[in-house]
Amino acid sequence: MQRNYFSQQAEEIANLGSWEIDLVSNVVHWSDQLFRICGYEPNDVTPSIRLGLDMVHPDDREVTEYLLRQALQFGNDYKIENRIVRPDGKIRYIYSQATVDKDIAGKPMRLRGIFFDISDRKEAEEARRQQEERYHTILNSVMEGFQILDHEFRYVYLNPSAIRQSRYPEERLIGHSMMELYPGIEQTELFQIMKDCLEKQSVRYQENEFTYPDGSKGWFELRIQPSADGLLILSVDITERKQAEEHKRKADARYRALIENSSEGITLMDKDHKVIYRSPANSKITGWTEEDLAGKHSLEDVHADDREHLRLAVKNAMEQSTDPVPFQFRVRHKQGHSIWLEGVMTNMLSDPGVEAIVLNFRDITARKAAEEKINEMNNELEAKVIERTAQFEAVNKELEAFSYSVSHDLRAPLRAIDGYANMIEEDYEKLLDEEGRRLLGNIQQNAKKMSTLIDDLLAFSRLGKKVIQKKQLNMNELLEGVLIDLNKAQQHHATILSDDLLPAFGDYSLIHQVLINLVSNAVKYSSKKEKPSVHISSRKEDNYVVYTVSDNGVGFDMKYAHKLFGVFQRLHTMDEFEGTGVGLAIVQRIVTRHGGQVKADSTPDKGSVFSFSLPIQ
């Protein structure tokens, strides 16, 4: 019993049941613990082979029954792992082992077995399996690469990310070495690190730029650590991050280069008006180095008259960040002279990349000097213009007074000369002989001529003052009027023909005057011909209309053409043709004031062609 008690204790602690089948008596015996394993209290039920088999999980029953039969019939021992279903439905995992005791003839007489509840172990195994599955799923889905290498750097395991990073299919990797797949890797720093980790059993974190066999590169963040198999490597592809960093680094370098090499001064100021950065151009412009400026008040070298302006600009910039604030001020150069700076300040305090008021400025001293010079010159010029205008006005007044006096004071004696000559003629004609009368006649004639001269001269000077009022002119109608006036004023026998004339744009009375002068000249200078003829025509030339008056008169020598349009210039004597020499001068003055040109062409004795052009608009 003692032995039996200990045996029961042991069974209970080990959760181990035992059973026996006496094949002679067919008695089945279960130990107490076996009852408990099967979900009963000891001796709740009567143990039997049938009961034992019925407990077995249906899926396992066939195998179990087969093994039992083999044991009973042929005396074969067996071991099996199967499941039983307890009366309450709970499933237990059981390891059972059976031994057959035989008689001398070898016939089975008794079956003995143990019944070991391995459910806890099974559950732990299952939990572990699930856990592994979870790990597997994670390893399959994470972005991080996970690979295991053996001591010869052969790939043992790679998760999908590591396979992706390797750029080889899985089947090319497993069992193959790094050296095979990445020839030349032995020479790399990375390989040395891996070797180190293996040898020293140490862990390394490393950022590495990896070069693939095709020459392309990728950046990886690696954790290399020894493992049971050899090496375990965790790898994160940081190529994009590295590229972005590189891009930013390059951009920063570019901007820095731009700022530091710019001839424009750039200064950054924090919200407390403290200068936090000065580009190198600052000292190039002002002469002051960083050391010179240390401890100086920022307005110290600014011209006293400009400090308020600068303060206001800063205040304005501090208050808003939308508009750059322009500024212009004088500052003392290190060498003592004053220079002008001009620029804008932009509030970028809220820009996290800047957090400053940015001042961009340049030296405009030379421009300022030029501006000052220009101002000075302008002022001088203005003064000169005023002076000249005054002089001009004075001259003009004198001229007016002169023409007034010419018309007034020259006429009175002329009137007297003519008057007294006439009185002599009226009162004393009978006392004069023929010569006396001829001389008297000459006095009267010259008085008349002088009167005409005075009139023409006045007409010419009046032209300078007249305001031109341009409008569209029907030149055919205008010419008609001219011919009527002409026929009234002088007797002639010229044939005057005109083409259909293009309209002109000019002052009616002035263009009328031009036509009168030219046509009457043509009539006058052709009057000695047998069949005098005058022809008026027009044509368009670029933006001008050109009118031509031609005659078949005496013409003139072209070598005197330059004298034609001068005042009082004549190419014929009074005996040949009468005239004062003012008509063509008037023509030229009118046409020039219209923005046109006059031209004359002639062959002596063949006739002349006078033309004038007028702008279309």
């Binding site: 007034y404 009137r415 008057g419």
Partner: protein, 145 residues
């Protein structure tokens, strides 16, 4: 007792005066004419002052021929005086001047001149102009009485 004056000629140029008188004579209009050499005398005459002290100023000329350019008191001043005085503003005043360039034309009309004549340079034209003038103002024109 003086004759009733018909024309007062105010002209400093003796030649012009002679020509004017000759022209008026031709029309027989020069019988009752007074020729004065400057504006001062003219005003004295009209207003009966100084050398004309005592002249019956109820008797005024029917026409004043007035030259503009004269020493001392010029024609404009005479005109202004006459036309701003109720007693004399009804007397017709014809300004005779040498040139149409004269900037005084406008002033004369503003002051109320009755006529503004440019003296022609030619003798015949001058004679004609003056005689027509005298004929018109003395014989054709009806003066207020």
């Amino acid at each position: 007792m003086e004759h009733e004056i018909e024309i007062l000629l105010v002209e400093d140029n003796p030649n012009d005066a002679e020509l004017t008188l000759r022209a008026l004579k031709k029309r027989h209009l020069a019988n009752r004419i007074v020729h004065l050499k400057n504006g001062e005398e003219a005003l004295d005459f009209i207003h009966g002052k100084n050398s004309f002290e005592g002249r019956d100023i109820r008797s005024q000329p029917k026409l004043i021929l007035l030259d503009l350019k004269m020493p001392k008191v010029d024609g404009i001043e005479v005109l202004r005086n006459l036309k701003s005085n109720d007693a004399t503003k009804i007397i017709p005043v014809v300004v005779l001047t040498s040139s149409k360039e004269d900037p005084d034309i406008k002033i004369c009309y503003e002051l109320g001149v009755n006529s503004y004549i440019v003296k022609p340079v030619g003798f015949e034209a001058f004679i004609n102009a003056i005689s027509e003038l005298g004929f018109y103002w003395l014989l054709l024109n009806q003066n207020p009485k």
